[in-house]
Each structure stands twice: as structure tokens, then as C-alpha cells.
């Protein structure tokens, strides 16, 4: 199955996001070897040059590193992964809070609503 990509945003950016998400979510574990560019491009059904560019960007961010002879690996720096995870989480929460405020909830009632929903989902 080709990767799910939006039609109206640059492919390169979406590949960076998707690969980053796979690293943050633990689909790729620290120290895991990534498939070759060509194979990843085929899997995603995208141009190999675009995939190459996305991997170079992940390398620039420090999320992957290249070993000259053996290929590309996911960083072993757990702190870096943790920090990026937090960054992502705060983006999601901010987005959520904005939307909740738009439909008229204040901070206290948002908190209460979350608690209630969590309780209910435990049952």
C-alpha cells in the first residue's frame, strides 16, 4: 500500500512528517536500520529523489544518522525523541484547546470534560 499523502502539500514535507511519526511512535526503534532509499520510495510510491531529500532532512534534525558503509539508522538519543514527542503533543493539545474554546468551553470545564470522558472510557 502506498503511503497516504495529501494532494495539495509538498510531498517532501509529508514524508518527513510520516517518518518522524514512525520514529516517535516507536514503529522504528532507536538504533533500527532503515530500509534503503529506493525500497522506501517504492513502498511509499514516491520519487526516490524526494525520499532521499526527506531522509536528509531527518538527518539534519538528528533523528537518523548514516554509517558510511552500512546504511541509515534511527538515532539512539532517547532524549531527542522524547523532546520531539513533547513538542508534537503540545501542538496537538494547543489545537484541541483552540477548538474547544471556539465552541465555548472555558479552561475549568474543558478539564472536567476530559476527566469525565477518560472515566467513561475506562468502563
Amino acid at each position: 500500500m502506498p503511503w497516504k499523502l495529501d494532494a495539495d502539500r509538498p510531498i517532501f514535507i509529508q514524508l518527513v512528517e510520516l517518518l518522524q511519526m514512525d520514529i516517535l511512535s516507536g514503529k522504528y526503534k532507536p538504533g533500527d536500520k532503515l530500509s534503503a532509499v529506493r525500497d522506501l520510495a517504492q513502498e511509499a510510491a514516491v520519487n526516490p529523489n524526494t525520499m532521499q531529500k526527506a531522509l536528509a532532512e531527518l538527518e539534519r534534525l538528528g533523528l537518523v544518522y548514516t554509517e558510511r558503509t552500512s546504511g541509515r539508522f534511527v538515532t539512539k538519543d532517547q532524549n531527542l525523541i522524547m523532546n520531539l514527542k513533547k513538542e508534537q503533543a503540545s501542538v496537538v493539545i494547543k489545537d484541541f484547546l483552540d477548538k474547544m474554546k471556539k465552541i465555548g468551553y472555558d479552561d475549568a470545564s474543558i478539564l472536567e470534560f476530559i476527566k469525565e470522558t477518560l472515566e467513561r472510557s475506562k468502563e
Binding site: R38, Q42, N47, N49
Partner: protein, 232 residues
């Protein structure tokens, strides 16, 4: 990357009708190009000139610094928009013909691809479905180790699942130093595998940029942008 194809002021007239009007173009190795334009825009004329099937009225075109001729045909693999194969022969006969004809043809690779696609080499071309015929034609082209691959409408007339398969075949089999030119109007299906697109309108190049440049600049897919540029 090296420039593989160079056009200077390439012009083709059919009588009074201008099919190509002063096209200047450079195609580099290592990239997949989409040659995109509506019917009658000059795509196939350009491709035919590139393959020596038509001669330009004026202007220059070179492949690897050579004028079009047997030397360039030896390094350009061409998939025409309809099949020219003898329908009475078997797939394996065509493979034999191609390996006789083209020095860069890899017979083992062709058989390997036939097997992967579950096509029996002993089947006659005429007994095959349209989609299978297209696949056989593409196998023949992609089994060459060429410098330039020119694919004229490689996915027209096959179902979406087969399209995906064909694009995958192109991605997995082209030689990474080669240039691939895909002419099509099924843009949405191919745009993710392209890195550059060339829009051709009434015989002129009106846009030449990367897929992501178009998406970034216009916040549209190449398909969407194409619909704007060529709005009727």
C-alpha cells in the same frame, strides 16, 4: 547530474500547423519527468522526434550530445502509445526479438518480471487482456539498461490496481542514472513518482518545475494546477 537531452528552438510544422514552437529544454539523468499537456499539445510529436520517427522542421535536438540516429536509439528505450508487437507471436518470441535487437536488453530480467506478474511466456500476445499487453510492452522497455526511458501513456487503459503496479515497475526497474520521461494526462496517478513536470501547451513549454515547487507555490496538486492552466 549530466544533461542527457538538449533541445534548442525545436520546431515542427505539419503543413501550416505548428505542432512544436521553438522548444528549449534540457533533461537530466537521475530524474523522472512528467510531460503533461492536453490532447494535441505536442507531447507525442516531441516524443516521436526524440525517437527519430519524425524530423524537426527546424532547431536542434541531441541525446548525449549526439544527433538522433542509430546511436541514440541504442540508448533510448521507448514505449509508444500503442503496441506495435506482432499479435500472433508468444511473449517469449518477443523477448527473443528484443534481445537480438538491443544490446542493453536483459533477458533474465524480462523473464523475472513476467513471472512476478504471473504472465506465461508461452501465451500469445493476442490472447492477453489490454492490461496484460501493456504490462508486456512495459516489461520489454524496462528490461533495457537504457540512458533515457520514454513512456508515452504507460498507464492509459488499465485499471487503478494495475496502474499502481505499473508505476511500481517503473520505480523499481529504472536505472538511477537514467532519465525517465512519462507522458500522460492521468496526472493524479503519477505525480507522486515524478520529480519534475513539464507543461506543454500548443507546442510551447509553459511550465517546467518540480512537483513540490508547484505544490508549495500554488497550494494545489499538480493535477489541480494543470486543470487551472489548461482550463477550457
Amino acid at each position: 547530474m549530466s544533461t542527457l537531452i538538449k533541445c534548442e528552438d525545436l520546431t515542427k510544422k505539419y503543413g501550416k500547423k505548428l505542432a512544436l514552437n521553438g522548444v528549449n529544454l534540457e533533461i537530466e539523468g537521475g530524474h523522472i519527468y512528467g510531460l503533461l499537456g492536453p490532447n494535441g499539445s505536442g507531447k507525442t510529436t516531441f516524443i516521436k522526434i526524440l525517437n527519430g520517427l519524425l524530423t524537426p522542421t527546424s532547431g536542434e535536438i541531441t541525446v548525449n550530445d549526439m544527433k538522433i540516429g542509430p546511436e541514440t536509439k541504442a540508448i533510448v528505450a521507448y514505449l509508444p502509445d500503442h503496441t506495435y508487437l506482432d499479435l500472433d507471436v508468444k511473449a517469449k518470441d518477443v523477448i527473443l526479438l528484443f534481445s537480438d535487437f538491443y544490446q542493453d536488453f536483459d533477458r533474465d530480467k524480462a523473464y523475472e518480471m513476467l513471472e512476478k506478474l504471473d504472465i506465461d511466456p508461452n501465451d500469445r500476445i493476442k490472447t492477453m487482456s489490454k492490461g496484460t499487453k501493456e504490462k508486456v510492452n512495459l516489461i520489454l522497455v524496462m528490461s533495457r539498461k537504457a540512458s533515457v526511458y520514454v513512456l508515452d501513456e504507460p498507464i492509459a487503459g488499465v485499471d487503478p490496481a494495475a496502474r499502481e503496479y505499473i508505476l511500481n515497475m517503473i520505480l523499481s526497474n529504472y536505472n538511477p542514472e537514467a532519465a525517465v520521461i512519462i507522458s500522460t494526462h492521468l496526472i493524479a496517478d503519477v505525480e507522486n513518482i515524478l520529480d519534475k513536470v513539464i507543461f506543454i501547451k500548443k507546442g510551447e513549454i509553459v511550465e517546467s518545475s518540480s512537483v513540490d515547487e508547484i505544490r508549495e507555490k500554488h497550494h494545489l496538486s499538480v493535477d489541480g494546477y494543470f486543470r487551472e492552466v489548461f482550463k477550457c
